[in-house]
């Protein structure tokens, strides 16, 4: 690649006296963008298929199963269908803003992938403010959605846009505050630095480091749901109230952009939780080859993220939607004060136990295991009572 | 209380303003003077013995020579019911509204106004409810003829069957 670029420079393809650094930089940027677009977009699209299948099981239906094995290629078919559809811009809409809005939303979903720590050396840019970046950049979504709502010139869209803005901005605060306990403990804002401070075993995860971190993790996950307009916080596009909220007037690919961003953001929100609290890519050093190690780490990271994505699908299949005043009071009356207490509590904790407290870690871990076991026991008891014959076989 | 004894009580109180008490039909009814409607209804609602707290049904019937508005009253307190009727002239049927006594009359009176053309004096919001606002005529009247078109939308289509039908008439 470098040789090819050098030959191009030598042939004068970029003018007589080009700066090689600039050209290398541009080439790397284009390559990264291509990789991102080829990875992030199909990933988000495949998640749509997973979501539809999982959701269908929960609702005792079959879901898409015609295109490809088990309907796996459904996302391609849907994408193709949406591209082929007519892109309608309503006559009364503010056309430039209307057209621009979906790109901002997609931008907000593409940018965070730059600092996504897939493995110990698989990261595009290990920024020293990575965690700040990854919480700040998705806020572009607000502008995109508000713009979409306003430019549609439709009152339902406007209400959807305003709801979304109110919701995302409110939940940024507890989400931001929930990050600080970890930052306090590690003293770094770099994604890799935070992951390196944890271990592969659950007792070394920050989730179980102290009680405050556990609460912070729960707040961060729920705020992530709210920021991405996921059920039970899907008020901006509440289909039974606002038709389709900010996306009411959109059609074709632009409509798809919104939903691709939503599903992609789901993954990003999960990745933040995994990085901060669930040990990221940490994997026991059982192989010597760095390449194989990186692959194993990638698999670990992905599995953890996908599990959280699955949990969010699960929640979507179970819970109704909250009302806007309830959503706001949850944020301002509960999450924000609790987050501040967390922050103070962690500061005190770090002052008392600068290197952590093994006993508390084990205690928290056993508490976590107990919660999971209790939950599993309830699920098992319920499935025994439920009429499983009503639910279709997973591979239909 | 049986409906007939309710009507007896009414006629002993309102005398000649109760025009007729009929027990020939399956459900007996009392015909009252249109001007006495509000007084009778207020009495029926407020008398503790009768306590007709619910206007269960209100509708109109076109009898070619008159229009009758029928009130089915019901008491949840005493579990009894009675039927009142007012007879109105066909060309200008006007009667007082009972909306002030039972809120459920609001929409039912709008429906009677819409479909039979009875005007309810004092009604707070007497608009057409089921038919379009600019509809002409009152569909449930016996002499109503369906217009051949509405805003350019044809309601009949020429066909040999329709022509035969018309010939028969």
């Amino acid at each position: 690649m470098q040789a090819w670029l050098d030959s191009l420079i030598a042939r004068g393809a970029f003018g007589p006296h080009p700066s090689p650094d600039l050209i290398y930089g541009a080439a790397i940027a284009i390559a990264c963008a291509l990789v991102l677009f080829l990875v992030a977009v199909p990933f988000a699209s495949i998640v749509t298929w997973v979501e539809r299948r999982v959701w269908a099981r929960i609702q005792s239906r079959i879901g898409p199963n015609r295109v490809g094995p088990n309907g796996f290629l459904q996302w391609l078919a849907d994408g193709f269908k949406h591209i082929c559809k007519e892109d309608v811009v309503p006559a009364e809409a503010d056309a430039p803003l209307f057209r621009l809005a979906p790109y901002l939303v997609v931008l907000a979903f593409i940018l965070p992938w730059a600092v996504m720590p897939f493995a110990s050396s698989l990261i595009l840019a290990d920024l020293n403010i990575g965690i700040l970046y990854i919480t700040a950049v998705p806020a572009l979504t607000v502008i995109g959605i508000l713009m979409a709502g306003w430019a549609s010139n439709n009152k339902w869209s406007l209400i959807g846009g305003i709801r979304s803005a109110a919701q995302i901005i409110s939940y940024e605060i507890p989400a931001g505050l929930a990050i600080f306990p970890v930052v306090l403990m590690t003293g770094t804002l770099s994604m890799q630095g935070i992951i390196r401070a944890q271990g592969w075993a659950p007792d070394r995860w920050f989730l179980f480091a102290n009680p405050f971190c556990f609460v912070a993790a729960v707040i961060l996950f729920i705020s992530g749901l709210a920021e991405n307009n996921r059920t039970p916080f899907d008020l901006p596009e509440a289909e039974s109230e606002l038709v389709a909220g900010f996306a009411t007037e959109y059609s074709s690919m632009r409509y798809l952009f919104f939903f691709m961003a939503e599903w992609g953001n789901m993954f990003i929100a999960a990745a933040i939780v995994v990085t901060l609290f669930l040990g990221g890519w940490q994997f026991p050093a059982i192989v010597q080859s760095p390449r194989l190690m990186n692959l194993l780490q990638l698999a670990t990271f992905m599995l953890k993220c996908l599990f959280l994505v699955f949990v969010s699908m699960w929640i979507r299949g179970t819970l109704p939607r909250v009302r806007i005043d309830q959503m706001m009071s949850l944020c301002w009356k509960y999450f924000v004060p609790i987050s501040f207490i967390n922050l103070l509590g962690t500061a005190v904790w770090v002052a008392i136990f600068p290197d952590g407290n093994r006993f508390t870690q084990w205690l928290m871990l056993s508490f976590g295991v107990a919660v999971v076991l209790l939950f599993l026991a309830r699920v098992v008891a319920f499935t025994r009572r439920a009429r499983m014959e009503l639910y279709f076989h997973p591979t239909i | 209380m049986e409906p007939l004894s309710i009507y007896q009580a009414l006629s002993s109180r309102f005398k000649e303003r109760i025009l007729e008490i009929s027990d020939k039909t399956i459900d007996p009814f009392a015909v009252i003077e249109p001007t006495a409607l509000l007084d009778v209804c207020t009495f029926l609602r407020d008398d503790p013995e009768l306590a007709m707290d619910c206007l269960s049904n209100q509708t109109g019937v076109d009898y070619k020579d008159r229009i009758e508005v029928v009130y089915h009253l019901f008491s949840y307190k005493h579990r009894h019911s009675c039927i009142l009727k007012v007879k109105l002239p066909r060309d200008n049927p006007v009667v007082a509204t009972v909306e002030g006594l039972w809120r459920s009359a609001n929409w039912m009176e709008r429906e009677i106004f819409d479909l039979l053309g009875v005007t309810f004096q004092g009604h707070s919001d007497l608009r057409r409810i089921l038919m379009p606002e600019d509809w002409e005529g009152y569909p449930l009247r016996k002499d109503f003829v369906e217009p051949r078109e509405y805003h350019g939308i044809a309601t009949v289509r020429e066909s040999p069957i329709v022509r035969l039908d018309q010939k028969k008439k």
Binding site: W55, I58, Q59, S60, R61, K155, W156, I159, R163, T231, P232, L235, A238, E239, S240, E241, V243, G317, T318, L319, P320, R321, V322, R323, I324, D325, Q326, F382, R385, A386, R387, L390 | T25, I26, D27, D53, C54, L55, S56, N57, T59, V61, D62, V70, H72, Y76, R79, I83, W102, R103, S104, W107, E111, L115, R128, I129, L130, M131, P139, L140
Partner: protein, 372 residues
């Protein structure tokens, strides 16, 4: 706050809106998320069914009654048949009455399943809706076997019902009831007792008993406000006196008596009672004919009567005037949805837009029943 001036926004909800349950329209005057008023505009489904009745005769009107309330058409069938029988003094054989009760109670369960499912859908949970429709589908299968139709049944006739229970149907129906009761528990665990569901429904759009009576609310909506009135118990018709069942009332366990949660729970509890009636009816059903002898073109003498039937949407009143010919002189249906719809304008004041959706769903209004 008075210095902060906000402008009133007029929103048009419907006639094509996902949660208006048919073709309804509301003109909403809103201040942000809070409604000042929601003015219902009905009539989009008006087909003048009452006028049609005057043209098609007594027997011929039966299929049209299905269209008055297509979600629980058995009750409109039954109301019309009972009114005609009362006018023409026709006796219905006992097995015919049992068939009517069985079909109608199955229809009530189906209708309530749709209502509780739609409630889930309207507050943003898809799963309860699909689970409820799955169960309703099985009832549709049963009724299809009974009368050949899944929605507009046209099952009843003046003087009885059209068809006897098919062979083996009784066992299927009983097997379905065995299946339904645990499913209702599962449904409650999934949705009814969900914290978010309770928060969304409790204390929303409270209707007091006096208001409910004054606005002529009927059926589950009335009973949710604590008024003990069920036509099946209090003005018994058909063979209902022979069955042992309870009339559930709104108790306000989660909020106030007469709130949306009470109206929602009414439907769940009535399904249990319907299942109870069905079990008794299916085991007690006598032998005999299902359709009495009725003159093909009967002409009841000039008379009039009112019949009240407890439909899934409450006390349905059929007022029929005959004039001695083969055609009714006037037919009027007093439906529960019409009265409930008239109340929405009053109830909507001060609610949020999201609550309006809950209100419509909890009152269980069906557009064709309003417009007829």
């Amino acid at each position: 706050m008075s210095a902060f001036h906000t402008e009133e926004m007029t929103l048009n909800m419907g006639p094509q809106h996902p949660s208006t349950h048919g073709v309804l329209r509301f003109v909403i005057k809103a201040d942000g998320e809070v409604m000042r008023e929601a003015i219902p505009d009905v009539g989009y489904l008006h087909r003048s069914i009452e006028k049609i009745a005057e043209k098609v005769g007594y027997h011929g009107f039966m299929p049209y009654t299905d269209r008055v309330d297509y979600v629980c058409a058995m009750f409109t069938n039954q109301g019309w048949a009972m009114a005609c029988e009362k006018l023409a003094h026709i006796e219905v054989p006992r097995r015919g009455e049992y068939c009517r009760v069985i079909a109608a109670e199955f229809n009530r369960i189906a209708s309530h399943l749709l209502t509780v499912g739609l409630m889930g859908m309207d507050i943003g949970a898809m799963t309860p809706f699909l689970h409820a429709l799955r169960e309703r589908e099985m009832i549709n299968d049963l009724i299809e076997e009974l009368c050949g139709a899944r929605l507009t049944f046209n099952y009843m006739r003046i003087g009885g019902v059209a068809w006897d229970l098919p062979p083996g149907w009784r066992d299927k129906a009983l097997a379905y009831l065995d299946h339904l009761e645990p499913i209702l528990d599962e449904f409650n665990a999934l949705f009814s007792y969900n914290k978010i569901c309770i928060q969304r429904l409790a204390n929303v759009a409270v209707i007091s008993a006096d208001e409910a009576i004054n606005y002529n609310l009927v059926g589950p909506n009335l009973r949710a406000s604590g008024v003990n009135w069920d036509v099946r118990k209090d003005l018994p018709y058909s063979v209902y006196p022979e069955f042992d069942f309870e009339v559930p009332l709104g108790r306000g366990e989660w909020g106030t008596v007469g709130d949306a949660m009470d109206r929602y729970m009414m439907r769940i509890r009535e399904m249990v009672q319907s299942a109870r009636i069905l079990r008794q009816a299916l085991t007690q059903i006598p032998d005999g004919p299902v359709l009495g002898k009725v003159v093909r073109n009967f002409k009841p003498a000039a008379n009039e009567c009112q019949v009240r039937v407890e439909s899934a949407r409450g006390d349905q009143g059929w007022y029929v005037v005959s004039d001695g010919t083969g055609f009714p002189h006037r037919v009027h249906v007093r439906t529960g949805s019409f009265a409930a719809m008239g109340m929405i304008q009053k109830l909507s004041k001060g609610l949020m837009i999201a609550d309006l959706v809950v209100l419509i769903a909890s009152l269980d209004v069906i557009a064709p029943e309003i417009d007829r």
